[in-house]
Symmetry: C2
Subunit: 257 residues, 2 copies
């Protein structure tokens, strides 16, 4: 019997760890650390750094393993993701059996929070189809909270709704119908450029919560170009980027008044 705990670690700031997360990591027999391959190992490094800081001695064993790579050329996005999750689940299955042949507690560090645009819970479901496994989730600070905290802005307006969506959807469908506030995740191509910028303000952060956090905010018409070029430079410099943004548009009732 394996007890798997998915531990939200926040967005790259080791100070984002909760007391609950620290206890959960220390309660594990083994912590799985995935390696994503050359040039993408900032995250593996961060996981090791967090473990070094918070694990009490004698602590859990760290068990590193290589992740399969997603076929980004697969034109069927959903099918490609499914195949990739299956491949990862196979690797997890083998690694967990190797690390804990007699069962025990295994923990896995998840960037941000395990519920938010993260595949770990879906992979764990697939692993559960292969072995007796319980899954516990420890919440973590999300990129959305890191974004709004950095800019010191509320996420929602008073008693108003907001939509969280992806760059791909925003570009395809335009501004959502249900809300004047939109948070955009997983946007590799600055989808805000596809909007008519009048009346829209944007708060953008890259590496939110980390030492190298970058923030740009203002009317979209004025700051869009700056965000595009800053993002491109930061991405070249670090080899990877993690960014998110919130946009708010002036109320329609205001413009009618």
């Amino acid at each position: 019997m394996i007890a798997l705990t998915l531990v939200g670690i926040g967005t790259g700031n080791p100070q984002h760890l909760t007391l609950q997360a620290i206890d959960a990591l220390n309660a594990a027999d083994v912590i799985l650390i995935p390696r994503k391959g050359p040039g993408k190992d900032d995250l593996a490094g961060l996981r090791r750094e967090i473990c070094k800081r918070v694990l009490r001695s004698p602590g859990p064993r760290l068990h590193e393993f290589d992740l399969p790579v997603r076929d980004v050329k697969n034109p069927d996005y959903q099918g490609g993701v499914d195949d990739w999750h299956d491949a990862i689940a196979s690797v997890w299955d083998a690694e967990i059996r190797a690390a804990l042949p007699d069962g025990g507690n295994i923990a896995f560090l998840v960037w941000g929070d395990p519920s938010l645009y993260d595949s770990t819970m879906r992979i764990a479901e697939r692993v559960r189809a292969r072995m007796t496994l319980s899954v516990t989730v420890i919440p973590g600070i999300t990129a959305i909270q890191a974004l709004t905290a950095g800019h010191a802005i509320p996420l929602n307006e008073v008693a108003a709704p907001f939509v969280v969506t992806t760059g791909r959807r925003l570009r395809k469908n335009g501004w959502p119908k249900d809300a004047d506030t939109v948070v955009v995740m997983l946007d590799g191509n600055c989808a805000f450029e596809s909007l008519a910028p009048e009346g829209i303000s944007i708060w953008w952060s890259a590496y939110a919560g980390m030492g190298n956090e970058i923030r740009i905010a203002g009317p979209l018409a004025q700051v869009a170009e700056d965000i595009v070029s800053t993002r491109s430079q930061a991405r070249s410099m670090h080899g990877w980027i993690m960014d998110t943004y919130l946009m708010r548009r002036a109320h329609e009732s205001k413009s009618e008044a």
Copy 2:
């Protein structure tokens, strides 16, 4: 000069505190603890309990004060909230000046995260109009993360959007147009009852993250009644309730297939 730090403390589980939150509380000269009046002081009690656990000695001074009460009978919801925030800002202004006549660092513990359906940032803005004040925000675990962690479910479907809205809006506008996943906050009246339940699943939690957490999940048609009665009993027993829920509906593409 006053430096105000709004510290997200999570949803009532002292283990939700982040290392960053603990450091921010310890760096304060004074921590403001609001009292909301008889029968609503579970939250003040929780704030005191958290301070007791994490403050290092000699720690910040705790400065307790009474909050004004919102006129819930005001038919103009938005105007009533504005007046109430103004009244709270006046009290904060006076209490901060009394506690730190020569300036310094003041911290305020915010349930959940300061960005999410919380008025503290708006009150701080009003206080900033009255004195020289810097505002820093420390992110915290939100009720949404506590909800999804407790049920061990993803918040979004793969690369799909979600809407966060209020009970009032859901009841008025029905299911949002933009998403198959909806999270409902600030719902005092079980607005899910206003929906045709077919094809909708619900994950409901009260006191998410706390020792007395209650969870109910299932097809809305089957569990709605149970949620209504469980909620009502829990509210009577504790004198207050904090609950949230996530609903997902079957994809339209599936029902077309």
